[in-house]
Symmetry: C2
Subunit: 467 residues, 2 copies
């Protein structure tokens, strides 16, 4: 095989880094399951028709071709809609899965899913083309109660909280509501709602002056309308009552009639957002705040939208985003409204590894390496390892009967804390086994039927190191 | 979104089936880590150059195209070698990973890996185009001791043994050795070794008569040579000594000279195979047998080859295969020889679900559903759930404040064994909470700070049901 080479955008972890990623995955799964979410795994591919229907990223897709079709020159004979492509998120596959299996699911269906997704982008510095997402969603059959719109972000907050011991800073969910924004824009007389959301979404990147220009040039807004949009985006509120008060004052200032359809739509959004911040404050103060500039790019959201930021890591952007989507999945007249959030797990792990310096306490899962005096006695060492494994203790056996110093060096390189000497330190037949902690240097007699590693050395762990 | 539709060859499990698959994955990971294997995850894609180099399945590959290249008509501008494709196994990616990261790994490198792989085949009944493999391999730097050739199949045997409680029959590894076969064929005067192996591999499918014809017509064998090949394939041995004896007798019968190169090569293979069956018999009698018709399709094997069969499930074919490969990975003059085995996990799970009728004890991970008397008091129910979760008990909260019977029905549909009534059975303020086991009908007072589910109902499990 040719010399290996990394491919830009397809991250791959070294074993000690993978331990951190695996710990993050295990932790998220534990929290999701504690909260009653059901794990599923969907196939990696969807039809082009499914992938192309929704979402701004729909153009950044990898389509598949069978090699034999390529070599036969038949690659382009099939319309894109009928071809297979790799999923670019886990929400579109969930919607398809729910419709396909609706007869076999109990609704509302709460599911967690941690899987790779792919974006068929050009290679770009700092952009992943393959990465892992960790999603929770709840999908209703016909209808879905509002209370999930506060409960799901709170589950994500507790999941992210559980990752703080591995170096993640405190996370805060910033919530907004599409109905609130749309009602307000329409009340101002703006009809290109998606366009306005797209420009507002750029606020953090390009600043208010540039956004104002774009609102005028791209969305047909007057200077006054653009200013009103920025006033809304700038609004914050300490609680639901203040949100309502400030929003109404802004509507009055811009002559949005209280009895119009636009205000009625916006008002629904204000109610939901007020409920979210008030209930979240009651359960976990400071975890979810109203932030009216949150827009979210994907066009399938119809109500609440969320982005999540880490204290002191603004440059990372949102690490957990989502929202409510009422029209993504349907079958005939039957709709399956959902609400969900997605953690960009690979970026999170990258932050934990490279900024917080999370690292595995050891590369190997094993607590102990059984030394081998000579190849004729390897079976003795194997039997000791088997006895330990039967008691749940991970054990490895030295690869060769090299000099003892070399065997200890192998354990050290893998971070295995103990080395086991069959028949004592000098291999005297009948002598009791001995085990040495190569970190502390302590050595003691040991019996594979009863010995246990000290608690500090029992399990592979993740700790925060320094650069 | 359009009505969902399954795609042939891309299996997807219902939630209760996914519980079984997840249990299989967790069990294999536990056994692999007990044995000191280090978990890695490789990217899903490799370059066409890597994928096309080795292996008979190399033609069954999915290549990727960016949608934007497809719509611009640029799809075929890049040579296949420079394009990206989905990996078709986990051995080729491991070889590339080891070479790429050799400076950061401790050798011999023992790794486990459980991931999806893809085969770009035409849709065919009963063939998976996407499936999960569970692999263990050990890769040396420059050299690799033989003892791994018996240890790795034994790890797989203990992993498969751990799955027997979920309905898997007893597994037996059938081992052979490429050097043994090659030396014997060359000793007979046959030079198309790969061709002979390919035909011998068909024995179970088409029988000895057809294989004889093919050996004659495709590999240039005489009738006598073909008969000798079948005699070898037919050979079994109770132990290493008998293997050596029978093999030497067969060589004598076919006038293969003991002092020739061919016999010397074969003899190396006999030694390794004899070592494998004898050591396996000492540790786990009946787990690994010599079976000289095992050929394995993939051309990268250079020594031991393995296939694994389940008692009473011959039609399933080999469920765990592999071998030793000395030349797959290299960098300059440096070789990285390896030995590994791969479980076809999706087919195994399919067997467990559909033949052994393994099933989840419940769909939801939750032990208890907290009832909600009315939406105004949902927060009370949420607080009870939070108190239970803080103690590690998975809890769900009723989706709506529907009639109690409907809430209990929701729990029942998800298999949640307990329903919790805040303030007792009739919601009297200040009354103690009560919890009902809806399987047994037992109801008792309970405090979220101290209550635990009975052991039988504590965790989601996997049991064997009947059709």
């Amino acid at each position: 095989m040719a010399k290996g080479a990394s491919i830009s955008g397809f991250p791959e972890w070294l074993p000690q880094e993978r331990v951190v990623e695996q710990r993050v995955i295990d932790t998220l799964r534990r929290i999701f399951e504690l909260n009653g979410f059901i794990g599923i795994e969907t196939r990696a591919v969807e039809t082009g028709a499914s992938l192309l229907k929704k979402g701004e990223t729909s153009k950044e897709i990898y389509l598949l071709s069978r090699l034999q079709e390529v070599t036969a020159g038949e690659e382009n004979d099939t319309p894109v809609e009928d071809r297979l492509g790799l999923h670019f998120d886990l929400t579109v596959p969930l919607s398809r899965y729910v419709v396909e299996h609706s007869g076999d699911l109990a609704f509302p269906f709460k599911r967690w899913q941690i899987q790779k997704v792919w974006r068929g982008e050009r290679p770009q510095e700092g952009r992943f083309r393959e990465f892992v997402q960790a999603d929770i969603d709840v999908v209703g059959n016909g209808s879905l109660p509002d209370h999930y719109e506060v409960e799901l972000p709170l589950v994500m907050v507790s999941a992210l909280e559980a990752l703080r011991e591995y170096g993640l800073p405190k996370a805060t969910v910033h919530a907004n509501n599409r109905k609130l924004s749309e009602g307000f824009y329409r009340g101002l007389g703006l009809s290109d709602v998606e366009g306005v959301l797209r420009e507002i979404d750029k606020l953090d990147k390009i600043g208010p002056d540039e956004v104002t220009k774009l609102l005028v040039s791209e969305c047909g807004a007057t200077e006054a309308q653009a200013a009103a949009c920025l006033d809304l985006a700038d609004m914050t509120a300490a609680d639901g009552a203040q949100l309502r008060e400030k929003f109404d004052a802004l509507c009055d200032a811009h002559s949005i009639a209280r009895d119009g359809d636009a205000y009625a739509l916006a008002s629904e959004g204000v109610d939901t957002l007020a409920m979210i911040v008030d209930e979240a404050a009651a359960i976990r103060p400071g975890s979810v705040i109203a932030d009216l500039k949150i827009a979210r790019g994907l066009d399938y959201y119809t109500g609440s939208v969320y982005e999540t930021f880490l204290d002191g890591a603004a440059s990372l952007g949102s690490i957990c985003s989502g929202g409510r989507y009422d029209n993504l999945a349907s079958q005939g007249n039957r709709k399956y409204p959902g609400v969900g959030l997605s953690i960009g797990l690979s970026r999170l792990v990258s932050y934990m590894l490279h900024t917080a310096h999370a690292t595995a306490t050891r590369v190997s899962p094993s607590s102990v390496l059984i030394a081998v005096w000579d190849e004729e006695h390897r079976l003795d060492s194997n039997r000791i390892a088997a006895a330990l494994r039967a008691r749940g203790i991970s054990a490895d056996v030295a690869p060769t009967a090299a000099k003892l110093g070399k065997q200890i060096k192998y354990a050290d390189k893998l971070g295995i804390p103990y080395v086991w000497f069959p028949n004592g330190a000098n291999d005297e037949a009948g002598a009791p086994d001995e085990v040495k902690n190569i970190v502390t240097g302590d050595q003691e007699q040991a019996d594979a039927a009863t010995w246990n590693p000290a608690e500090d050395y029992a399990a592979q762990g993740v700790v925060l190191g320094k650069e």
